[in-house]
């Protein structure tokens, strides 16, 4: 995880020559360089709406607004500018979803769901069909918030959307998506199990 590595190297004075980066920055770079030829054609008629969760550990606690902007550039390239709705507040000022800090493993479930109410309301206010959560803890928490509070919005990994857009997402790599995305741009549909 980006923050524990960055903060750990610094806190414990661990010497290193490599740079510590997050892959969102590279997704954006590869799209700009034309190496990832993504587009939003698949969503033109569908018109599914997307919002994005800014992971605290990666945005506010590590790289700040520049990586939040990269994240938005990637998501908009994938779903179409007109299908992206930001939460308010966002970027470095975003609210934590409640999945971080060990909360998911701490055993305090009721308090964790109460904590997440702010996030649930924020997502629902966008009216989005899906929330992009490119961090595992955020993904798990937001999925649970959607079920618990009855918002029924989906939660999607960034790599799933990238491969969907590229037309290389197999049927078994999208089992957690909603019915609205199950049949879209399926790569090798005959491999479904």
């Amino acid at each position: 995880m980006t923050y524990s590595v960055r903060a750990g190297l610094k806190k414990f004075g661990i010497e290193h020559r490599f740079e510590v980066k997050n892959i969102y920055e590279y997704y954006a770079k590869w799209i700009r360089e034309g190496k990832l030829k993504v587009n939003s054609d698949w969503n033109r008629e569908l018109g599914l709406k997307f919002t994005v969760q800014d992971p605290c550990q990666i945005v506010r606690k590590s790289y700040g607004d520049p990586i939040a902007d990269d994240l938005r550039f990637v998501v908009k390239s994938l779903v179409g500018e007109e299908n992206f709705i930001d939460m308010v507040p966002n970027r470095s000022n975003n609210y934590c979803c409640g999945g971080g800090g060990g909360f998911l493993q701490s055993g305090f479930r009721d308090q964790r769901l109460a904590y997440g109410r702010v996030k649930d309301e924020q997502i629902r206010a966008t009216g989005a069909d899906y929330c992009v959560a490119a961090c595992h803890n955020c993904h798990a928490q937001i999925h649970e918030l959607s079920e618990h509070y009855g918002g029924h919005y989906g939660v999607v990994h960034l790599w799933t959307l990238i491969c969907l857009s590229l037309g290389i997402l197999g049927p078994n790599e999208r089992t957690y998506l909603g019915d609205d995305l199950r049949e879209v741009n399926v790569f090798h549909p005959e491999t479904a199990v």
Binding site: K35, G101, S106, H136, I168
Partner: protein
């Protein structure tokens, strides 16, 4: 009155807060609170256990060490740092929370977080699920073979472990290889499409670090050092986090 107890303002000696101040540059600005409440107003943990960031800081400042170091609220604050972001004095309340967590006897800390940290210490993967390096390698090989066969466009795709001189040292959340291995493929395909030169490490491949959340410095350092040493040994240029 606070929690039915009278606040003894005469006490005035905050050992805990002074200890944390000594750890931080500029003392973390811990004694600069203007009591404006911006932290609490924008904190999703406000109200849980009757606590909020401002109250927590004020209690520490007033020397209510016992309350501050025993409230379970410190496990409900995610240390997301939004309070610092909105604070006019940039007070490091999350660090106070971290040290309050660290003040709990290790065995009294939440079992789920402790268990995930202990699992990561079991072998050289650093995985919160205790997955051994050879089990990770087996899943990677198995999934790669399946993908190459069923999706022939990716017949020459690779998912190397310990490839020396690779540009990227990539880590992976253990939940993928362990509980949802098909989730490995989208990432590999993206890396293949862009022609990235990457590798996993047989040691320290796991992305998660619950020892940090457990506020167990020694174990956090061990996990970080293990990954960093592997990335350095492989002469990777970029330690690339997937989350």
């Amino acid at each position: 009155m606070l929690n039915g107890k009278t606040i003894d303002l005469g006490r005035g000696t905050s050992t805990f807060m002074r200890k944390v101040q000594d750890l931080l540059p500029e003392g973390g600005n811990l004694n600069m609170c203007l009591t404006c409440g911006a932290c609490s107003a924008g904190c999703p943990a406000t109200g849980l256990e009757g606590m909020d960031p401002r109250k927590f800081l004020r209690m520490a400042a007033m020397g209510m060490d016992e309350e501050v170091t025993s409230t379970p609220w410190v496990w409900m604050c995610t240390m997301c740092q939004r309070c610092i972001y909105v604070c006019p004095m940039k007070i490091d309340i999350p660090r106070l929370v971290y040290e309050a967590r660290a003040s709990w006897p290790r065995e009294s800390r939440p079992k789920g977080i402790m268990g995930s940290c202990d699992m990561a210490l079991r072998n050289e993967s650093g995985s919160a699920m205790g997955t051994a390096p050879q089990d990770f390698a087996f899943v990677v090989e198995d999934m790669l073979e399946e993908c190459r066969e069923s999706q022939p466009e990716f017949a020459d795709m690779e998912a190397p472990i310990d490839k020396e001189g690779a540009e990227f040292f990539i880590n992976q959340n253990s939940r993928e290889p362990v509980t949802e291995p098909e989730e490995l493929m989208p990432l590999w395909k993206i890396l293949h499409v862009v022609g990235a030169d990457w590798t996993y490490g047989s040691k320290g491949w796991a992305a998660e670090n619950y020892c940090m959340f457990l506020a167990d410095d020694q174990s956090w350092e061990h996990i970080t050092r293990q990954s960093a040493e592997k990335a350095a040994a492989l002469r990777c240029k970029v330690f690339l986090n997937t989350e």
